[in-house]
Symmetry: C2
Subunit: 283 residues, 2 copies
Protein backbone atom coordinates (compact mmCIF):
# COMPACT_ATOMS: atom_id res chain seq x y z
CA UNK A 1 0.00 0.00 0.00
CA UNK A 2 2.81 2.42 0.86
CA UNK A 3 4.27 1.94 -2.63
CA UNK A 4 0.94 2.93 -4.13
CA UNK A 5 0.65 6.02 -1.93
CA UNK A 6 4.24 6.98 -2.71
CA UNK A 7 3.31 7.01 -6.39
CA UNK A 8 0.29 9.26 -5.82
CA UNK A 9 -0.07 12.65 -7.46
CA UNK A 10 -1.52 15.79 -5.85
CA UNK A 11 -4.68 15.16 -7.87
CA UNK A 12 -5.20 11.84 -6.02
CA UNK A 13 -5.85 13.80 -2.82
CA UNK A 14 -8.52 16.24 -1.74
CA UNK A 15 -8.44 18.82 1.03
CA UNK A 16 -11.09 18.87 3.71
CA UNK A 17 -13.69 21.61 3.29
CA UNK A 18 -13.61 23.75 6.50
CA UNK A 19 -17.41 24.06 6.28
CA UNK A 20 -17.66 20.27 6.50
CA UNK A 21 -15.05 19.67 9.16
CA UNK A 22 -15.44 19.81 12.92
CA UNK A 23 -12.83 19.56 15.64
CA UNK A 24 -13.69 17.75 18.85
CA UNK A 25 -11.19 19.24 21.32
CA UNK A 26 -10.38 17.09 24.35
CA UNK A 27 -7.70 17.51 27.02
CA UNK A 28 -5.97 14.54 25.37
CA UNK A 29 -6.02 16.06 21.89
CA UNK A 30 -8.09 16.85 18.81
CA UNK A 31 -10.42 14.55 16.92
CA UNK A 32 -11.06 15.66 13.33
CA UNK A 33 -14.41 14.71 11.82
CA UNK A 34 -15.49 15.16 8.21
CA UNK A 35 -19.20 15.83 7.87
CA UNK A 36 -21.21 14.33 5.02
CA UNK A 37 -23.79 16.84 3.78
CA UNK A 38 -24.17 14.61 0.72
CA UNK A 39 -25.92 12.09 2.96
CA UNK A 40 -27.50 14.10 5.79
CA UNK A 41 -27.86 17.76 4.76
CA UNK A 42 -30.33 18.73 7.51
CA UNK A 43 -28.30 17.10 10.28
CA UNK A 44 -25.05 18.58 8.98
CA UNK A 45 -26.62 22.06 8.88
CA UNK A 46 -27.68 21.61 12.50
CA UNK A 47 -24.24 20.31 13.55
CA UNK A 48 -22.59 23.32 11.89
CA UNK A 49 -24.90 25.69 13.79
CA UNK A 50 -24.42 23.81 17.08
CA UNK A 51 -20.63 23.98 16.71
CA UNK A 52 -20.83 27.66 15.73
CA UNK A 53 -22.91 28.33 18.86
CA UNK A 54 -20.43 26.51 21.09
CA UNK A 55 -23.23 24.16 22.12
CA UNK A 56 -21.00 21.21 23.05
CA UNK A 57 -18.35 23.28 24.85
CA UNK A 58 -18.35 22.13 28.46
CA UNK A 59 -20.56 19.11 27.73
CA UNK A 60 -19.06 15.61 27.82
CA UNK A 61 -18.51 12.16 26.39
CA UNK A 62 -21.11 10.15 28.28
CA UNK A 63 -20.84 6.67 26.85
CA UNK A 64 -18.16 4.19 25.82
CA UNK A 65 -19.42 0.70 25.03
CA UNK A 66 -16.77 -1.85 24.14
CA UNK A 67 -16.81 -3.04 20.53
CA UNK A 68 -19.62 -0.61 19.75
CA UNK A 69 -19.68 3.17 20.18
CA UNK A 70 -18.44 6.23 22.05
CA UNK A 71 -21.12 8.92 22.38
CA UNK A 72 -21.27 12.54 23.49
CA UNK A 73 -23.85 15.22 24.11
CA UNK A 74 -25.77 16.78 26.95
CA UNK A 75 -25.87 14.43 29.94
CA UNK A 76 -28.96 16.38 31.03
CA UNK A 77 -30.51 16.28 27.57
CA UNK A 78 -33.55 14.34 28.74
CA UNK A 79 -34.36 16.92 31.43
CA UNK A 80 -36.21 19.96 30.00
CA UNK A 81 -35.33 21.98 33.11
CA UNK A 82 -31.59 21.29 33.00
CA UNK A 83 -30.74 20.79 29.38
CA UNK A 84 -28.51 23.24 27.55
CA UNK A 85 -30.21 25.47 24.97
CA UNK A 86 -29.21 24.72 21.37
CA UNK A 87 -28.73 28.36 20.41
CA UNK A 88 -29.47 30.26 17.22
CA UNK A 89 -30.30 28.58 13.95
CA UNK A 90 -30.60 25.07 15.37
CA UNK A 91 -33.71 23.04 14.68
CA UNK A 92 -34.98 20.97 17.60
CA UNK A 93 -36.58 18.52 15.20
CA UNK A 94 -35.24 17.13 11.93
CA UNK A 95 -36.43 14.57 9.43
CA UNK A 96 -34.78 11.14 9.52
CA UNK A 97 -31.96 11.02 6.94
CA UNK A 98 -31.29 7.29 6.92
CA UNK A 99 -30.61 7.29 3.18
CA UNK A 100 -30.75 9.54 0.13
CA UNK A 101 -31.64 9.08 -3.53
CA UNK A 102 -28.79 7.49 -5.47
CA UNK A 103 -29.29 9.87 -8.39
CA UNK A 104 -26.51 12.46 -8.40
CA UNK A 105 -24.19 10.49 -6.16
CA UNK A 106 -21.29 8.73 -7.89
CA UNK A 107 -20.12 5.54 -6.20
CA UNK A 108 -16.91 3.57 -6.68
CA UNK A 109 -18.42 0.11 -6.28
CA UNK A 110 -16.34 -2.67 -4.75
CA UNK A 111 -15.99 -5.81 -6.86
CA UNK A 112 -17.03 -8.10 -3.98
CA UNK A 113 -20.48 -8.83 -2.56
CA UNK A 114 -21.29 -6.95 0.62
CA UNK A 115 -23.98 -9.07 2.23
CA UNK A 116 -25.63 -6.21 4.13
CA UNK A 117 -26.49 -4.31 0.94
CA UNK A 118 -26.95 -4.98 -2.77
CA UNK A 119 -23.85 -2.90 -3.55
CA UNK A 120 -21.16 -1.24 -1.46
CA UNK A 121 -18.28 1.07 -2.20
CA UNK A 122 -17.21 4.67 -1.70
CA UNK A 123 -19.16 7.83 -2.39
CA UNK A 124 -17.92 11.36 -1.71
CA UNK A 125 -14.99 9.68 0.06
CA UNK A 126 -17.15 7.80 2.54
CA UNK A 127 -17.83 4.06 2.85
CA UNK A 128 -21.33 3.71 1.47
CA UNK A 129 -23.89 1.26 0.21
CA UNK A 130 -26.84 1.38 -2.14
CA UNK A 131 -29.89 -0.46 -3.31
CA UNK A 132 -30.68 -0.18 -7.00
CA UNK A 133 -34.26 -1.38 -6.62
CA UNK A 134 -35.04 1.19 -3.95
CA UNK A 135 -32.80 3.72 -5.66
CA UNK A 136 -31.26 4.86 -2.39
CA UNK A 137 -27.75 5.18 -0.96
CA UNK A 138 -26.40 5.58 2.56
CA UNK A 139 -23.24 6.15 4.53
CA UNK A 140 -22.34 2.77 6.06
CA UNK A 141 -21.47 2.02 9.69
CA UNK A 142 -17.75 1.27 9.72
CA UNK A 143 -15.03 1.88 12.31
CA UNK A 144 -14.92 5.67 12.72
CA UNK A 145 -18.36 6.40 11.24
CA UNK A 146 -20.20 9.18 13.08
CA UNK A 147 -23.96 8.97 13.56
CA UNK A 148 -26.72 10.95 15.23
CA UNK A 149 -28.18 9.22 18.28
CA UNK A 150 -31.95 9.06 18.47
CA UNK A 151 -34.79 7.79 20.63
CA UNK A 152 -37.37 5.29 19.39
CA UNK A 153 -38.97 7.59 16.83
CA UNK A 154 -37.16 7.61 13.48
CA UNK A 155 -37.20 11.41 13.39
CA UNK A 156 -36.02 11.95 16.98
CA UNK A 157 -32.38 12.83 16.22
CA UNK A 158 -31.27 16.41 15.74
CA UNK A 159 -27.47 16.06 15.76
CA UNK A 160 -26.91 17.17 19.36
CA UNK A 161 -26.11 13.61 20.42
CA UNK A 162 -23.35 12.05 18.30
CA UNK A 163 -21.68 8.63 18.41
CA UNK A 164 -18.61 7.13 16.78
CA UNK A 165 -18.20 3.42 15.95
CA UNK A 166 -15.20 1.97 17.87
CA UNK A 167 -15.51 -1.73 17.05
CA UNK A 168 -16.69 -4.29 14.54
CA UNK A 169 -18.85 -2.54 11.94
CA UNK A 170 -22.45 -2.53 13.25
CA UNK A 171 -23.99 -2.58 9.79
CA UNK A 172 -27.40 -3.53 11.21
CA UNK A 173 -27.65 0.16 12.15
CA UNK A 174 -27.54 1.10 8.46
CA UNK A 175 -30.88 2.50 7.30
CA UNK A 176 -31.99 2.73 10.91
CA UNK A 177 -30.20 5.86 11.99
CA UNK A 178 -28.79 9.01 10.41
CA UNK A 179 -25.05 8.85 9.72
CA UNK A 180 -23.40 12.24 9.45
CA UNK A 181 -19.68 11.74 8.77
CA UNK A 182 -16.53 9.99 9.85
CA UNK A 183 -13.47 10.50 12.02
CA UNK A 184 -10.49 11.49 9.87
CA UNK A 185 -7.88 11.76 12.59
CA UNK A 186 -7.68 11.09 16.34
CA UNK A 187 -9.74 7.87 16.53
CA UNK A 188 -7.37 6.54 19.20
CA UNK A 189 -8.43 9.40 21.50
CA UNK A 190 -11.94 7.95 21.48
CA UNK A 191 -11.31 4.21 21.12
CA UNK A 192 -9.10 4.08 24.22
CA UNK A 193 -11.53 5.83 26.56
CA UNK A 194 -12.40 3.73 29.61
CA UNK A 195 -15.59 1.76 28.99
CA UNK A 196 -18.69 2.78 30.90
CA UNK A 197 -20.03 0.22 33.34
CA UNK A 198 -23.66 1.29 33.12
CA UNK A 199 -26.31 0.01 30.74
CA UNK A 200 -25.20 0.38 27.09
CA UNK A 201 -21.77 1.57 28.25
CA UNK A 202 -22.99 4.85 29.76
CA UNK A 203 -20.79 6.13 32.57
CA UNK A 204 -22.45 5.72 35.94
CA UNK A 205 -21.01 8.87 37.51
CA UNK A 206 -20.36 12.37 36.22
CA UNK A 207 -16.69 12.06 37.24
CA UNK A 208 -16.16 9.28 34.69
CA UNK A 209 -17.30 11.41 31.77
CA UNK A 210 -14.70 13.06 29.54
CA UNK A 211 -15.23 16.83 29.35
CA UNK A 212 -15.48 18.34 25.89
CA UNK A 213 -13.34 21.49 25.78
CA UNK A 214 -14.98 22.52 22.53
CA UNK A 215 -16.42 21.34 19.26
CA UNK A 216 -15.64 23.88 16.59
CA UNK A 217 -16.44 24.13 12.92
CA UNK A 218 -13.08 24.40 11.09
CA UNK A 219 -14.43 27.38 9.15
CA UNK A 220 -14.82 29.21 12.50
CA UNK A 221 -11.22 28.43 13.53
CA UNK A 222 -8.34 30.77 12.62
CA UNK A 223 -6.39 29.27 9.71
CA UNK A 224 -3.24 28.90 11.80
CA UNK A 225 -5.09 26.59 14.21
CA UNK A 226 -6.67 24.37 11.60
CA UNK A 227 -5.64 20.79 10.87
CA UNK A 228 -4.60 21.00 7.25
CA UNK A 229 -5.30 17.45 6.18
CA UNK A 230 -5.70 15.80 2.84
CA UNK A 231 -7.72 12.66 2.26
CA UNK A 232 -7.15 10.18 -0.55
CA UNK A 233 -9.80 10.43 -3.26
CA UNK A 234 -11.88 7.30 -3.74
CA UNK A 235 -12.79 7.88 -7.40
CA UNK A 236 -9.36 7.47 -8.99
CA UNK A 237 -7.38 4.66 -10.66
CA UNK A 238 -4.90 4.96 -7.79
CA UNK A 239 -7.64 4.21 -5.26
CA UNK A 240 -8.77 1.24 -7.34
CA UNK A 241 -5.18 -0.03 -7.25
CA UNK A 242 -5.11 0.44 -3.48
CA UNK A 243 -8.32 -1.57 -3.08
CA UNK A 244 -6.91 -4.33 -5.27
CA UNK A 245 -3.69 -4.36 -3.23
CA UNK A 246 -5.79 -5.05 -0.15
CA UNK A 247 -8.00 -7.65 -1.85
CA UNK A 248 -4.93 -9.61 -2.88
CA UNK A 249 -1.92 -8.78 -0.77
CA UNK A 250 1.30 -9.52 -2.54
CA UNK A 251 3.89 -9.04 0.17
CA UNK A 252 6.02 -11.84 1.64
CA UNK A 253 3.89 -12.18 4.76
CA UNK A 254 0.68 -13.31 3.06
CA UNK A 255 0.63 -16.91 1.88
CA UNK A 256 -2.95 -16.81 0.58
CA UNK A 257 -4.44 -13.60 -0.79
CA UNK A 258 -8.02 -13.16 0.42
CA UNK A 259 -9.45 -12.34 -3.01
CA UNK A 260 -12.06 -10.31 -1.16
CA UNK A 261 -12.49 -7.01 0.59
CA UNK A 262 -15.20 -5.35 2.66
CA UNK A 263 -15.84 -1.58 2.60
CA UNK A 264 -15.04 -1.39 6.31
CA UNK A 265 -11.63 -3.01 5.76
CA UNK A 266 -10.45 -0.55 3.13
CA UNK A 267 -8.13 2.08 4.61
CA UNK A 268 -8.88 5.72 3.71
CA UNK A 269 -5.45 7.37 3.95
CA UNK A 270 -5.06 10.84 5.41
CA UNK A 271 -1.96 13.00 5.27
CA UNK A 272 -0.77 16.31 6.59
CA UNK A 273 -1.06 18.90 3.87
CA UNK A 274 1.65 21.16 5.30
CA UNK A 275 4.21 18.40 5.69
CA UNK A 276 3.60 17.31 2.13
CA UNK A 277 4.03 20.77 0.68
CA UNK A 278 7.26 21.11 2.66
CA UNK A 279 8.39 17.78 1.24
CA UNK A 280 7.57 19.05 -2.23
CA UNK A 281 9.72 22.14 -1.62
CA UNK A 282 12.66 19.96 -0.59
CA UNK A 283 12.50 18.26 -3.94
CA UNK B 1 -31.76 -11.04 22.88
CA UNK B 2 -32.17 -10.79 26.66
CA UNK B 3 -35.57 -12.48 26.40
CA UNK B 4 -33.96 -15.40 24.59
CA UNK B 5 -31.19 -15.70 27.17
CA UNK B 6 -33.71 -15.49 30.00
CA UNK B 7 -35.46 -18.50 28.51
CA UNK B 8 -32.24 -20.54 28.31
CA UNK B 9 -31.81 -23.82 30.12
CA UNK B 10 -28.63 -25.02 31.85
CA UNK B 11 -28.05 -27.31 28.86
CA UNK B 12 -27.76 -24.24 26.59
CA UNK B 13 -24.53 -23.32 28.37
CA UNK B 14 -21.15 -24.95 28.68
CA UNK B 15 -18.44 -24.42 31.27
CA UNK B 16 -14.93 -23.51 30.25
CA UNK B 17 -12.45 -26.37 30.43
CA UNK B 18 -9.63 -25.29 32.81
CA UNK B 19 -7.11 -27.03 30.54
CA UNK B 20 -8.24 -24.78 27.69
CA UNK B 21 -8.47 -21.52 29.62
CA UNK B 22 -5.73 -19.04 30.38
CA UNK B 23 -5.79 -15.94 32.56
CA UNK B 24 -3.82 -12.90 31.49
CA UNK B 25 -3.33 -11.05 34.79
CA UNK B 26 -2.72 -7.32 34.51
CA UNK B 27 -2.61 -4.63 37.20
CA UNK B 28 -5.94 -3.45 35.77
CA UNK B 29 -7.58 -6.85 35.97
CA UNK B 30 -7.91 -10.30 34.45
CA UNK B 31 -8.43 -11.21 30.82
CA UNK B 32 -9.93 -14.69 30.33
CA UNK B 33 -9.04 -16.49 27.10
CA UNK B 34 -10.48 -19.75 25.85
CA UNK B 35 -7.98 -21.79 23.84
CA UNK B 36 -9.04 -23.73 20.75
CA UNK B 37 -7.20 -27.04 20.60
CA UNK B 38 -9.76 -28.09 17.97
CA UNK B 39 -8.08 -25.66 15.57
CA UNK B 40 -4.47 -25.38 16.72
CA UNK B 41 -3.51 -28.38 18.87
CA UNK B 42 0.26 -27.89 18.65
CA UNK B 43 0.09 -24.18 19.48
CA UNK B 44 -2.35 -24.76 22.32
CA UNK B 45 -0.07 -27.44 23.79
CA UNK B 46 2.81 -24.98 23.68
CA UNK B 47 0.72 -22.18 25.22
CA UNK B 48 -0.33 -24.51 28.05
CA UNK B 49 3.32 -25.38 28.74
CA UNK B 50 4.42 -21.73 28.50
CA UNK B 51 1.73 -20.69 30.99
CA UNK B 52 2.61 -23.60 33.27
CA UNK B 53 6.26 -22.51 33.18
CA UNK B 54 5.37 -18.91 34.01
CA UNK B 55 7.02 -17.85 30.76
CA UNK B 56 5.04 -14.61 30.31
CA UNK B 57 5.20 -13.55 33.95
CA UNK B 58 7.13 -10.28 34.01
CA UNK B 59 6.99 -9.86 30.23
CA UNK B 60 4.74 -7.21 28.67
CA UNK B 61 2.16 -6.02 26.19
CA UNK B 62 4.35 -4.45 23.55
CA UNK B 63 1.96 -3.36 20.84
CA UNK B 64 -1.42 -1.67 20.54
CA UNK B 65 -2.40 -0.68 17.01
CA UNK B 66 -5.69 1.15 16.66
CA UNK B 67 -8.45 -0.77 14.89
CA UNK B 68 -6.17 -3.79 14.63
CA UNK B 69 -4.42 -5.72 17.43
CA UNK B 70 -2.90 -5.67 20.89
CA UNK B 71 0.10 -8.00 21.19
CA UNK B 72 2.26 -9.37 23.99
CA UNK B 73 5.37 -11.45 24.40
CA UNK B 74 9.08 -11.02 24.98
CA UNK B 75 10.20 -7.53 23.97
CA UNK B 76 13.70 -9.04 23.64
CA UNK B 77 12.44 -12.04 21.72
CA UNK B 78 14.49 -11.20 18.64
CA UNK B 79 17.75 -11.06 20.62
CA UNK B 80 19.16 -14.57 21.28
CA UNK B 81 21.36 -13.17 24.08
CA UNK B 82 18.55 -11.46 25.96
CA UNK B 83 15.44 -13.45 25.27
CA UNK B 84 13.70 -15.37 28.04
CA UNK B 85 14.00 -19.18 27.91
CA UNK B 86 10.71 -20.94 27.12
CA UNK B 87 11.17 -23.59 29.81
CA UNK B 88 10.28 -27.27 29.93
CA UNK B 89 8.08 -28.97 27.38
CA UNK B 90 7.89 -26.01 25.00
CA UNK B 91 8.78 -26.50 21.35
CA UNK B 92 10.71 -23.65 19.78
CA UNK B 93 9.32 -24.54 16.37
CA UNK B 94 5.81 -25.60 15.41
CA UNK B 95 4.00 -26.36 12.18
CA UNK B 96 1.69 -23.69 10.80
CA UNK B 97 -1.89 -24.43 11.89
CA UNK B 98 -3.74 -22.02 9.62
CA UNK B 99 -6.62 -24.46 9.14
CA UNK B 100 -7.67 -28.03 9.92
CA UNK B 101 -9.61 -30.72 8.12
CA UNK B 102 -13.34 -30.14 8.33
CA UNK B 103 -14.01 -33.81 9.00
CA UNK B 104 -14.90 -34.31 12.65
CA UNK B 105 -15.74 -30.66 13.28
CA UNK B 106 -19.43 -29.80 13.46
CA UNK B 107 -20.32 -26.28 12.33
CA UNK B 108 -23.50 -24.30 12.87
CA UNK B 109 -23.52 -22.54 9.50
CA UNK B 110 -24.95 -19.05 9.20
CA UNK B 111 -27.75 -18.61 6.65
CA UNK B 112 -26.06 -15.59 5.04
CA UNK B 113 -23.12 -15.42 2.63
CA UNK B 114 -19.80 -14.54 4.26
CA UNK B 115 -17.77 -13.15 1.39
CA UNK B 116 -14.38 -14.06 2.84
CA UNK B 117 -15.16 -17.78 2.86
CA UNK B 118 -17.51 -20.24 1.19
CA UNK B 119 -19.26 -20.85 4.50
CA UNK B 120 -19.09 -19.33 7.94
CA UNK B 121 -20.62 -20.10 11.29
CA UNK B 122 -19.67 -21.44 14.70
CA UNK B 123 -17.63 -24.51 15.56
CA UNK B 124 -16.71 -25.62 19.06
CA UNK B 125 -18.14 -22.27 20.18
CA UNK B 126 -15.79 -20.18 18.06
CA UNK B 127 -16.55 -18.04 14.99
CA UNK B 128 -15.24 -20.14 12.14
CA UNK B 129 -15.26 -20.59 8.39
CA UNK B 130 -14.77 -23.45 5.99
CA UNK B 131 -14.19 -24.36 2.40
CA UNK B 132 -15.96 -27.48 1.18
CA UNK B 133 -13.76 -27.82 -1.89
CA UNK B 134 -10.56 -27.71 0.11
CA UNK B 135 -12.21 -29.59 2.97
CA UNK B 136 -10.71 -27.31 5.59
CA UNK B 137 -12.00 -25.15 8.45
CA UNK B 138 -10.46 -22.35 10.47
CA UNK B 139 -11.09 -20.08 13.42
CA UNK B 140 -11.95 -16.67 11.94
CA UNK B 141 -10.45 -13.29 12.85
CA UNK B 142 -13.19 -11.42 14.72
CA UNK B 143 -13.10 -8.90 17.55
CA UNK B 144 -11.49 -10.77 20.46
CA UNK B 145 -9.89 -13.55 18.40
CA UNK B 146 -6.43 -14.52 19.67
CA UNK B 147 -3.69 -15.45 17.21
CA UNK B 148 -0.04 -16.44 17.26
CA UNK B 149 2.24 -13.77 15.84
CA UNK B 150 4.80 -14.94 13.32
CA UNK B 151 7.63 -13.73 11.09
CA UNK B 152 7.59 -14.12 7.33
CA UNK B 153 7.87 -17.91 7.32
CA UNK B 154 4.51 -19.68 7.67
CA UNK B 155 5.90 -21.95 10.38
CA UNK B 156 7.63 -19.23 12.41
CA UNK B 157 5.04 -18.93 15.22
CA UNK B 158 5.34 -20.95 18.40
CA UNK B 159 2.70 -19.32 20.61
CA UNK B 160 5.08 -17.16 22.67
CA UNK B 161 3.90 -14.01 20.86
CA UNK B 162 0.11 -13.60 20.99
CA UNK B 163 -2.20 -10.92 19.63
CA UNK B 164 -5.86 -10.07 20.12
CA UNK B 165 -8.06 -8.35 17.52
CA UNK B 166 -9.35 -5.01 18.88
CA UNK B 167 -11.05 -3.56 15.79
CA UNK B 168 -12.86 -4.32 12.57
CA UNK B 169 -12.46 -8.03 11.80
CA UNK B 170 -9.21 -8.44 9.81
CA UNK B 171 -10.44 -11.48 7.92
CA UNK B 172 -7.61 -11.18 5.38
CA UNK B 173 -5.45 -12.74 8.12
CA UNK B 174 -7.58 -15.90 7.97
CA UNK B 175 -5.57 -18.81 6.51
CA UNK B 176 -2.41 -16.74 6.86
CA UNK B 177 -1.73 -17.12 10.55
CA UNK B 178 -2.52 -19.56 13.35
CA UNK B 179 -5.51 -18.58 15.48
CA UNK B 180 -5.51 -20.11 18.93
CA UNK B 181 -8.60 -18.93 20.79
CA UNK B 182 -10.66 -15.94 21.83
CA UNK B 183 -11.11 -13.54 24.72
CA UNK B 184 -14.11 -14.55 26.82
CA UNK B 185 -13.96 -11.75 29.38
CA UNK B 186 -11.92 -8.60 29.95
CA UNK B 187 -11.65 -7.36 26.35
CA UNK B 188 -11.98 -3.77 27.57
CA UNK B 189 -8.72 -4.16 29.52
CA UNK B 190 -6.95 -4.65 26.19
CA UNK B 191 -9.01 -2.52 23.82
CA UNK B 192 -8.52 0.63 25.91
CA UNK B 193 -4.73 0.39 26.19
CA UNK B 194 -2.98 3.49 24.85
CA UNK B 195 -2.00 2.99 21.22
CA UNK B 196 1.69 2.61 20.42
CA UNK B 197 3.19 5.37 18.32
CA UNK B 198 5.87 3.23 16.68
CA UNK B 199 5.61 1.27 13.45
CA UNK B 200 2.64 -1.18 13.55
CA UNK B 201 1.57 0.26 16.90
CA UNK B 202 4.59 -1.02 18.86
CA UNK B 203 5.41 1.10 21.89
CA UNK B 204 8.54 3.15 21.36
CA UNK B 205 9.79 2.99 24.94
CA UNK B 206 9.83 0.25 27.57
CA UNK B 207 7.94 2.54 29.98
CA UNK B 208 4.89 2.54 27.69
CA UNK B 209 4.54 -1.24 27.77
CA UNK B 210 2.01 -2.84 30.10
CA UNK B 211 3.64 -5.37 32.43
CA UNK B 212 2.14 -8.85 32.52
CA UNK B 213 1.82 -9.96 36.13
CA UNK B 214 1.20 -13.52 35.02
CA UNK B 215 -0.40 -15.72 32.42
CA UNK B 216 -1.70 -18.84 34.09
CA UNK B 217 -3.46 -21.93 32.86
CA UNK B 218 -6.75 -22.14 34.78
CA UNK B 219 -5.99 -25.80 35.60
CA UNK B 220 -2.89 -24.58 37.48
CA UNK B 221 -4.90 -22.04 39.48
CA UNK B 222 -6.54 -22.97 42.81
CA UNK B 223 -10.27 -23.45 42.28
CA UNK B 224 -11.16 -20.56 44.57
CA UNK B 225 -9.23 -18.18 42.30
CA UNK B 226 -10.70 -19.35 39.03
CA UNK B 227 -13.20 -17.42 36.93
CA UNK B 228 -16.17 -19.74 36.86
CA UNK B 229 -17.70 -18.74 33.58
CA UNK B 230 -20.21 -20.33 31.29
CA UNK B 231 -20.43 -19.69 27.59
CA UNK B 232 -23.54 -20.06 25.46
CA UNK B 233 -23.44 -23.15 23.26
CA UNK B 234 -23.55 -22.46 19.55
CA UNK B 235 -25.10 -25.76 18.47
CA UNK B 236 -28.55 -25.40 20.01
CA UNK B 237 -32.00 -24.23 18.84
CA UNK B 238 -31.67 -21.41 21.37
CA UNK B 239 -28.50 -20.16 19.68
CA UNK B 240 -30.20 -20.36 16.28
CA UNK B 241 -33.01 -18.20 17.72
CA UNK B 242 -30.44 -15.75 19.03
CA UNK B 243 -28.81 -15.49 15.61
CA UNK B 244 -32.19 -14.93 13.98
CA UNK B 245 -33.03 -12.24 16.55
CA UNK B 246 -29.89 -10.40 15.43
CA UNK B 247 -30.52 -10.94 11.71
CA UNK B 248 -33.95 -9.41 12.03
CA UNK B 249 -34.29 -7.23 15.09
CA UNK B 250 -37.85 -6.88 16.20
CA UNK B 251 -37.65 -4.22 18.88
CA UNK B 252 -39.16 -0.74 18.60
CA UNK B 253 -35.85 0.92 17.76
CA UNK B 254 -35.24 -0.85 14.46
CA UNK B 255 -37.30 0.37 11.52
CA UNK B 256 -35.74 -1.93 8.96
CA UNK B 257 -34.44 -5.37 10.00
CA UNK B 258 -31.09 -6.09 8.31
CA UNK B 259 -32.04 -9.59 7.13
CA UNK B 260 -28.36 -10.41 7.36
CA UNK B 261 -25.68 -11.24 9.90
CA UNK B 262 -21.94 -11.72 9.84
CA UNK B 263 -20.13 -14.19 12.14
CA UNK B 264 -18.19 -11.32 13.71
CA UNK B 265 -21.42 -9.49 14.61
CA UNK B 266 -22.98 -12.39 16.50
CA UNK B 267 -22.59 -11.98 20.27
CA UNK B 268 -21.32 -15.02 22.17
CA UNK B 269 -22.81 -14.54 25.65
CA UNK B 270 -20.83 -15.35 28.77
CA UNK B 271 -22.19 -15.53 32.29
CA UNK B 272 -20.87 -16.05 35.76
CA UNK B 273 -21.49 -19.62 36.79
CA UNK B 274 -21.54 -18.86 40.52
CA UNK B 275 -24.01 -16.01 40.23
CA UNK B 276 -26.33 -18.17 38.16
CA UNK B 277 -26.25 -21.07 40.59
CA UNK B 278 -27.00 -18.61 43.39
CA UNK B 279 -29.91 -17.30 41.34
CA UNK B 280 -31.13 -20.84 40.85
CA UNK B 281 -31.04 -21.38 44.61
CA UNK B 282 -33.12 -18.26 45.14
CA UNK B 283 -35.82 -19.70 42.91
Amino acid sequence: MQQILDASQPSDWRTLDPKNTIYLELARGRVVIELAPQFAPAHVANIRALAHNGYWNGLSINRSQDNYVVQWGDANGEDPAKRKPFGKGVKAKLPAEFSRKSAGLAMTVLPDPDGWAAQAGFAAGFPAARDSEQGNSWLAHCYGTVGAGRDLAADSSNGTELYVVIGQSPRHLDLNITTVGRVIKGMELLSTLPRGTGNLGFYETAAERTPIQAIRLAADVPKAERANLEVLRTDTPLFAALVESRRNRQDDFYKRPAGHINICNVPLPVRDQVAESKAAKKK
